[in-house]
């Protein structure tokens, strides 16, 4: 039987380490042992595929809780998902979740003293098209405080979850907004060592995505791991 083609190793510096001293919650949760090497098998090179038929999309977060419009600045977020060889990742599921315009999550664990919006839940699910493009509508999320250190505030962000073709391509990340003064202070964002890799977590304002008299558009492109060029030696 032919061995499955593995995915290439992640590039040093482009991914955060587990141990980020400035992010306090990592300190009792990061593994102290080195990760154990594993040649990719069928378990790692295949992964779940979600169809829109079984997992209906929900692309308009501005009104997907009650049908009534949520409060805040409407925005359009769109982009393309490719692999490290520039090939599009078609028909893959993208999960999104975020705080409302006041910086409050519609979640019982969030006790931040900012108002909930009865019409905003802050969760959605979209699929890329045949060329890897996705698009959704939402409300620009507010900044919120967190207990990491004195006067700590998370920059505005939207959480994203991607699957791609394999369990090895699974990615959970956060999208940020350009020009946010909190970015340089945020230990989660700055947990990524490589400045260029950090910058790619920041969406770009995009006039072409912007719709007249409706909403500003932001572009957030995402790259998932690519296959190794040749099968690695075991």
């Amino acid at each position: 039987m032919t061995d499955p083609l593995p995915f290439r190793p992640l590039t040093a510096g482009s991914q955060p380490p587990y141990d980020v001293p400035g992010y306090r919650s990592t300190q009792r949760r990061f593994p102290r042992q080195p990760l154990h090497p594993i040649p990719h098998t069928i378990t790692e090179t295949t992964g779940p595929q979600f169809s829109e038929r079984m997992f209906p999309a929900s692309v308009d977060l501005t009104c997907n809780k009650t049908g009534q419009p949520a409060i805040g600045e409407r925005i359009i977020v769109a982009g393309r998902i490719t692999d490290e060889d520039g090939r599009s990742v078609p028909h893959t599921m993208v999960e999104i979740w975020q705080a409302n315009a006041t910086g409050r999550y519609d979640h019982p664990g969030d006790q931040h003293d900012a108002p909930l919006d009865p019409n905003f839940h802050g969760a959605g699910r979209v699929f890329t098209d045949a060329d890897g493009f996705y698009r959704f509508l939402t409300i620009r999320p507010g900044a919120y405080p967190w207990p990491n250190h004195r006067n700590a505030w998370r920059p505005n962000h939207i959480h994203f979850s991607f699957f791609g073709p394999a369990f090895a391509t699974r990615l959970v990340t956060q999208m940020y907004f350009p020009g946010d003064p909190l970015l340089s202070l945020d230990p989660i964002f700055n947990g990524v060592p490589d400045a260029a890799a950090r910058d790619r977590l920041v969406a770009a304002f995009d006039l072409d995505l912007t719709e007249p008299d409706y909403a500003l558009g932001y572009r957030f492109d995402v790259v998932l791991r690519g296959r190794a060029a040749t099968p690695m030696e075991d």
């Binding site: 061995d3 949760r29 594993i38 295949t46 964002f189």
Partner: protein, 173 residues
């Protein structure tokens, strides 16, 4: 070409996209030996982690209309996750190797900048003795962190220690 996009923590509020049904991989009527895979997630102080996301993926039985192969469970206030699935059989490994029955696991939580990958094997499987991954872990105590143990009938226990003396073996997937 650009490298893969950087990971960021899932944070504590990922439950906004949680669908409780996903913890039961047999919900579409899968046939086979139904099992519960459950355990507690502990941090380096031995305290349960109540806000984690545990995802599983298995290639056996093969994905079909009745079996999605993928599941997701939160950890509850006591740090306990619980998934219902079909017990996998052996699957092919690299070369001519065969892999013992196993379930791939991906743990995400606040405080984890990236997901942690591991695998759950089953204590009653003779193939564990020749499984390439298990046999590549030299220390028996470390190896045993990847082996689920039988609990109540049909239930398998797989505790996950993120850090510390009993730290689970996490994989460089």
């Amino acid at each position: 070409m650009p490298h893969a996009t950087a990971s960021q923590t899932i944070g504590p509020y990922w439950h906004l996209v949680e669908d409780k049904d996903w913890a039961d991989l047999t919900r579409f009527g899968a046939e086979g030996e139904k099992i519960v895979l459950t355990g507690t997630i502990y941090d380096g102080d031995g305290l349960p982690c109540p806000d984690a996301c545990v995802e599983i993926w298995q290639t056996d039985p093969p994905v079909s209309d009745t079996f999605p192969g993928f599941g997701r469970s939160n950890s509850d206030a006591n740090g306990v996750f619980r998934l219902v699935t079909v017990k996998p059989g052996p699957v092919s490994g690299r070369g001519n190797a065969q892999q013992a029955p196993h379930i791939a696991i991906w743990v995400l939580s606040r405080g984890l900048m990236k997901g942690l990958a591991t695998r759950a094997y089953f204590q009653d499987e003779p193939l564990n003795e020749t499984d390439p991954l298990l046999q590549s872990i030299e220390e028996p105590a470390r190896r045993s962190t990847l082996v689920a143990t039988p609990g109540a009938p049909g239930s398998w226990r797989f505790d996950i220690h993120l850090q510390g003396d009993r730290e689970t073996v996490f994989l460089d997937v």
